[in-house]
Every structure is written in structure tokens, then in C-alpha cells.
């Protein structure tokens, strides 16, 4: 693969992180329309190099055929907020990683806010989602991918290696640690195809990215002795 090829791959990863992050936010007309229109951008980045491509296409197809936004809203609330009919899929890291549900979220949020500060981003207070919400963690990874893409454009090998290390650490300590369990719950529980497919695509992508970035970090270690 050429330098441009890996740059495209990094841009693809950035785009998929953003896409999945946005899809886990409360559904709104504009947001759903934006998701539905992203198929062309995805195809331009040649996703078939990676095994998550099929799952992503299925999700975007489901967005295209999705029911009206108010139906999506109902399912969003059922799955992620109210837990109606046994559907209890809180999209937050603290729910999945803290044994004691009381006091745990604050600690996880504090760790994450510190991590975000190290990365160079700030979680805006007053937003509808907490720092440990899956959308925020996916967005943080998108930011790190953008950083890696910039380093690749500049042909800065050390910066690429540094960014990969930070991505791997974030995946290992946060996103890849809990998201697959949460996403499997969503897959099992959702009544709407669009959320089932979103969960399947995100799970396939996050699992893949964790292993891919790990392999790239090891390659970088050989390359730059990092």
C-alpha cells in the first residue's frame, strides 16, 4: 500500500469513528439525513480493504430505509435512556466497568476528562452526553485519527508512531474494553434494524481497530524504535 493508501485508510477510520459517534446521539432529522448521505464518502475511501466494510454498508442501507425520526427517537429512549421492556443498554463506560454503580461514574468521567485533556480536546459541559458516553469516546478516537492523518500528510514518522500509541492506549483502556459488550447488548435488544446494524457495524469496527492499531504500534516500534 502506498503512503496515500494508508492516509486514505486513516481518513476512513476517522470518518467511521465520526459516523458511529454521531449515530449514537439522539436522532434528529438533520443528523439522520447526514448519516444517510455519507455512503458516497465512505465508498470513496475504499473500505473493502477492511473486513468491517460489509457491516458498515448494511448500517448505511438501514439508515436509508429507516423509519421516521419520531420512531427512531422512541427506540433510542427505550434502549439508551429508559430501559423499557428489559432493554437496558446504557451507552456509557462507567455502567460497564464499575462494579459499584454508585460513585463509579464520577471517577470514570474524571479519568476520561483528564485523558481528553492530554489528547487535546475538551468535553463541553452542558451537552446531553457525559464524557464516558460512547459518542464522546468515538469522537475522541476520530480526533486522534485526524491527528495521525495530519502526521502522515507531513511524512512525520515519529508523530504517526506517537499518535498510534495514544490511540492504542485509549482503545485498550477505554473504548475496546467495554464497547463490544454494550454493542452486543444493543444487537440483542433492539427492535429496529437500524440500531441492530449500527451496533454490529460499530462492534466490527472497534474490535478491528483495536487489533489493527496494536499491530501498527508494534510495526512502529520496529520502525522508529519507539
Amino acid at each position: 500500500m502506498t503512503a496515500g493508501g494508508w492516509l486514505a485508510a486513516t481518513r476512513l477510520r476517522q470518518g467511521v469513528y465520526r459516523l458511529c459517534g454521531a449515530a449514537f446521539l439522539p436522532p434528529e432529522d438533520d443528523r439522520v439525513a447526514l448519516l444517510a448521505s455519507s455512503e458516497g464518502a465512505l465508498e470513496a475511501l475504499e473500505p473493502d480493504a477492511f473486513p468491517f466494510a460489509a457491516a458498515l454498508r448494511r448500517f448505511l442501507g438501514a439508515v436509508r430505509d429507516a423509519p421516521p425520526t419520531d420512531v427512531l427517537e422512541g427506540e433510542y429512549i427505550r434502549l439508551f435512556e429508559a430501559g423499557v421492556d428489559g432493554a437496558l443498554c446504557p451507552p456509557t463506560e462507567s455502567f460497564h466497568t464499575t462494579a459499584a454503580r454508585h460513585g463509579g461514574p464520577a471517577e470514570v468521567d474524571a479519568v476520561l476528562e483528564s485523558t481528553y485533556a492530554d489528547i487535546g480536546i475538551v468535553h463541553r459541559s452542558g451537552t446531553v452526553v457525559t464524557p464516558d458516553h460512547i459518542s464522546v469516546e468515538l469522537e475522541a478516537m476520530a480526533f486522534l485519527c485526524a491527528e495521525e492523518a495530519g502526521a502522515r500528510e507531513a511524512d512525520d514518522l515519529a508523530a504517526v508512531a506517537d499518535s498510534l500509541r495514544r490511540q492504542h492506549r485509549f482503545l485498550r483502556e477505554h473504548l475496546a474494553r467495554w464497547a463490544p459488550v454494550f454493542l452486543a447488548d444493543v444487537r440483542r435488544t433492539s427492535r429496529l434494524e437500524v440500531y441492530r446494524d449500527l451496533a454490529e457495524a460499530t462492534e466490527a469496527f472497534v474490535r478491528h481497530d483495536h487489533v489493527l492499531v496494536g499491530a501498527l504500534v508494534r510495526a512502529a516500534r520496529q520502525e522508529v524504535g519507539a
Binding site: 500500500m1 502506498t2 503512503a3 493508501g5 494508508w6 475504499e46 473493502d48 480493504a49 473486513p51 468491517f52 466494510a53 460489509a54 457491516a55 502522515r152 511524512d155 514518522l157 504517526v160 508512531a161 485498550r172 463490544p180 454490529e200 462492534e203 466490527a204 474490535r207 478491528h208 483495536h210 487489533v211 489493527l212 496494536g214 499491530a215 501498527l216 508494534r218 510495526a219 512502529a220 520496529q222 520502525e223 522508529v224
Partner: protein, 494 residues
């Protein structure tokens, strides 16, 4: 299933007369995208690529673009101009059988392999990753909750962990050696690239190549290693690592009609996956089985056999490569050998085992039966009596029962990997009988007589009162509302 076989024209033998079913594409290895239209309408694929090519990642991408699962694509290295056209045809046929038995993969099964850095700044210009299959744990079939740790104990990469439920595999840490797949006593860990069904299909297809011709030799070789040196008529079965081979996997092909099995061990190469002699152990144990059955030892070897014996059988027992195939395989071999009065043989790599219990040390607590992943050990109670049973035919010698025994230090239980045909053919036996003491209040069982005696011995005389209470009332009846404990005379008020 619509299986398509596509080969690169550049890697074909000179005397290649392509069968109608094989699609030949000029320059396929230089232009993997040409594969996509050839796969229109196909549901499975075998791709023949040039031996010295490095385009596997791009071939897989093309397979994905055609809407297929790239891990299911059988990749065959073409022999080039001087190759044997007849053998290539047979190899493609075998690969097609394996691909047809492919059962699909999940997101957890894909592991990218980044090509080794070969030049400065190659991190910026790496080839597209090639994907290898990593195993995944079927949470429904995993019995880690019962205490089984067979996968974690065999994993050389410490890739297994557990947080309450089934075992979890860290695909990033996994080195895809496959040891966990064959170590799992319930078949809960499956690698889509080499399932019991796909291996059986491949072995049977290899055996068919010997029908009406010279006997067939099957060589197990590491998928990541150098191509094994072949003898005439030899077919290679690539496994993730030869250290994953069990004695049963080595012996089973002999029942399908393969004349000899060779294990091309590469443990001397310093590979992180091997190195502890497991493949050599499996060969040694398989040869021990052959010897005790009076069969020619040349049926199994670690190197090229001195001579190729005649095939033993042509029927592979169902489930031969499955987690509990060992009994069926050795019994079928014994039938093929018409062996009589076979003595017991012990070897640490055997996949059948015999559990023994020291009746004086065992307290009949049933922990071993609770931990047994295959149900070979049973704990049954009726009318106040309890029996610890053992069915040798169901024992896979995993040894998970042994560390769960609370009286292990006193030698209460032992499991010995053993071939004992008499035991395998026999009905289950009772290893120990005991009586359960019922609660005087509710009638539910408290513990076995031997367990209470053992507790009494451990507590000593000064706690005789407590023991008397424990021997009369169950834990529920001993403790009433608000935690008020009963006395030895009366149960707690409910």
C-alpha cells in the same frame, strides 16, 4: 453453495489443461481487482495465487468487494511452470472441499497482519494488511463459570481473561496458534479457518485422491512456516501451528483413507508459538496407540515415512475432529486393527483419560463432577444416597476436575491420560458411593457423611457442638430471620 475456483494464469504449470470449472485470469496477482467480476453469483471461492506473490491482502479485499467472507477464501499457492498439473488439480479440489465446509466468521475473528517492516519509513508505506482468523469464544458453550480454565492454561500469550461470565479472548494479544481450539473440552472456542467440519472435509477430500491410485500421505504443517518438503503424493494440511495438534487429530485421517500422517514440526525454529514439544508429543502418543493396537508405526511420523503402509479404513467417524472425537477415533482404529486383549497405555498427550478416586480421601462433595466440562464425571443422588460416577468414553483428559478437588492435597482424585479400550467400551462406573444427611427441619440434603466427618476431623473436639448443629440442620434452617442462629436442640424459628 456456488463455489468458484479462480487461478492466476502466471502461476500455472506448462501442461495445465484447466477443468471447465476453473476460471483462469491473466495477471491476477498483479491486478487482484480482476477477481471481482469472476465472483459474480459465487458464495464461496478458492483462489490460486503465484507462490512468490505478496498480494494476499489485496486478494482478500477483492473477495470482500465481491460480497464474500474473505476468511473463507481458500488460497492455494500455484506451483509455476514446472509444477505437476495433476497434483495441482487435486490440491484445488481439496481446497474447494475445505472452502465448501466453511461456516462463516464474526467481527471477533479477523486479525490484521501487518507485513514486516523491510525498509526505513515503511510504516508510511506498508502493504495492505492480510487477515488471519483468530478464534472466538462461544459464550453459550463456554463452561468457565463451572471452573474450566483449559484455554487459559494452554495459551502461550496470556490472551484469555474472565470477568464473571465466559472466557474472553484478547484478539490483540492472541498469536493465533490455535492451541485453545483443541484444548477446549466443549468446543466453545472455534477458529473459522479450521473447524472440525472443514478439517474433516479437507481430510476426506485428500483421502479421495488416493482412490484407485498410490496411497496418500497427509502432512500437517504450520501455516506460517516454510512449505514442508513433500514426498510423492503428499498433501499438506495447513494448521495455524503444529503445537495445536492433538493425538486424535494426528490419528483421525488414517480412518478416512489416508495411508500415513506426517507432522512437519517446526519447533526448532524458535517460533513463539511452539517450542515445547507438543507436536512431537502428539506424534509419540499416536505411535504408542498404533503400537498397542499392533499397527504399523509408519502410519504416523514426524518425518518422511520409511515406507507408506496400506490405508487402514475409509470411514471417518462423525465428529472425529470435534472436542469429543477421541473415543470414536481410537475405537474405530481398534476395530480396523481387529485388536484383541489390548493393554492399557498411558501418555501425557493422549486425549482419553481415566479418573480414579481414593475412597478414603474423597468426601463425595461433587466438586469434580461440577467442574467436568464433558459430563464424564457425574454426581447423582436418590433416596438419600449419592454416587460419583465416571464414563471413560466421555473423558477428554482435560484434567479440569483435579484442581477443583478440595481434598487434592490428600490425593483424593487423579486423572491419567490413558488409552483403555475396555473402559471406553464399558458402561459408566461408580467411583464412590455415600449417604447424604438430610436436614431434620426441611429434609433437604446437608452434606455427605464423609464430608461431615472430614469437617469434624478438621474442626476438632472443641467444635463438636458446631458440628452437631451442622449435621442436623441445613444452612438455611440453621439461621432464622434477623440472623438468629439455631441451637443444636432446635432449628431457628422461620
Amino acid at each position: 453453495m456456488t463455489l468458484r475456483t479462480v487461478v492466476c494464469a502466471d502461476g500455472l504449470p506448462e501442461r495445465w489443461d484447466p477443468p471447465d470449472a476453473v476460471v483462469v485470469i491473466e495477471g491476477l496477482c498483479d491486478h487482484p481487482g480482476r477477481l471481482v467480476p469472476a465472483l459474480d453469483g459465487a458464495s464461496g471461492v478458492v483462489v490460486g495465487v503465484c507462490a512468490d506473490t505478496h498480494v494476499r491482502g489485496r486478494i482478500q479485499a477483492a473477495v470482500r468487494r465481491a460480497g464474500l467472507d474473505a476468511l473463507g477464501a481458500g488460497l492455494v499457492e500455484l506451483p509455476g511452470r514446472r509444477g505437476d498439473a495433476g497434483h495441482l488439480r487435486a490440491v484445488l479440489d481439496v481446497a474447494a472441499s475445505r472452502a465448501a465446509a466453511y461456516g462463516g466468521s464474526s467481527a471477533a475473528n479477523h486479525k490484521p497482519v501487518i507485513p514486516t517492516a523491510v525498509s526505513r519509513r515503511s510504516l508510511l508505506r506498508l502493504e495492505l494488511p492480510e487477515y488471519v482468523a483468530v478464534p472466538a469464544v462461544d459464550g453459550e458453550a463456554c463452561v468457565a463459570v463451572g471452573g474450566c480454565r483449559a484455554c487459559a492454561e494452554t495459551c502461550p500469550a496470556d490472551a484469555f481473561s474472565r470477568r464473571g461470565g465466559p472466557m474472553a479472548l484478547d484478539a490483540d494479544a492472541c498469536i493465533t496458534c490455535g492451541r485453545c481450539v483443541t484444548a477446549c473440552p466443549t468446543g466453545a472456542i472455534e477458529n473459522p479457518a479450521i473447524t472440525p467440519a472443514s478439517l474433516a472435509a479437507e481430510v476426506e477430500a485428500i483421502a479421495r485422491q488416493g482412490e484407485g491410485g498410490p496411497p496418500v500421505v497427509l502432512t500437517y504443517a504450520c501455516a506460517a512456516g516454510e512449505p514442508a518438503e513433500l514426498v510423492d503424493g503428499s498433501f499438506v494440511v495447513r494448521v495455524p501451528c503444529v503445537a495445536m495438534l492433538t493425538t486424535t487429530w494426528v490419528l483421525a485421517p488414517l480412518l478416512a483413507g489416508v495411508a500415513a500422517v506426517r507432522v512437519a514440526a517446526c519447533e526448532a525454529s524458535g517460533c513463539a508459538r511452539g517450542g515445547d514439544g507438543r507436536a512431537a508429543d502428539a506424534v509419540e502418543a499416536a505411535r504408542a496407540v498404533l503400537a498397542v493396537l499392533g499397527l504399523d508405526g509408519q502410519h504416523v511420523s514426524a518425518r518422511t515415512p520409511e515406507h507408506v503402509p496400506a490405508p487402514l479404513s475409509s470411514t471417518l467417524p462423525p465428529g472425529a475432529f470435534g472436542p469429543r472425537g477421541a473415543t470414536a477415533v481410537v475405537l474405530a482404529l481398534a476395530d480396523a486393527a481387529e485388536a484383541q486383549d489390548v493393554p492399557r497405555v498411558e501418555h501425557r498427550a493422549l486425549d482419553t483419560g481415566i479418573v480414579t478416586v481414593d475412597g478414603a480421601a474423597c468426601t463425595t462433595c461433587g466438586a469434580c463432577a461440577g467442574a467436568c466440562p464433558t459430563g464424564a464425571l457425574t454426581f447423582a443422588s436418590a433416596d438419600g444416597a449419592v454416587a460419583l460416577g465416571f464414563a471413560a468414553r466421555d473423558c477428554v483428559a482435560c484434567g479440569q476436575c483435579v484442581p477443583r478437588c478440595p481434598e487434592l492435597a490428600r490425593g483424593a482424585i487423579a486423572m491419567t491420560p490413558t488409552l483403555d479400550l475396555e473402559a471406553l467400551r464399558a458402561d459408566p462406573v461408580v467411583l464412590k458411593r455415600d449417604q447424604m444427611i438430610p436436614c431434620e427441619n426441611c429434609g433437604r440434603p446437608i452434606a455427605s457423611v464423609d464430608a461431615l466427618q472430614r469437617v469434624g476431623a478438621l474442626l476438632g473436639e472443641e467444635h463438636a457442638g458446631a458440628l452437631a448443629l451442622a449435621g442436623r440442620f441445613c444452612t438455611t434452617c440453621r439461621q432464622g430471620p434477623f440472623g438468629v442462629r439455631a441451637t443444636a436442640a432446635e432449628p431457628a424459628a422461620r
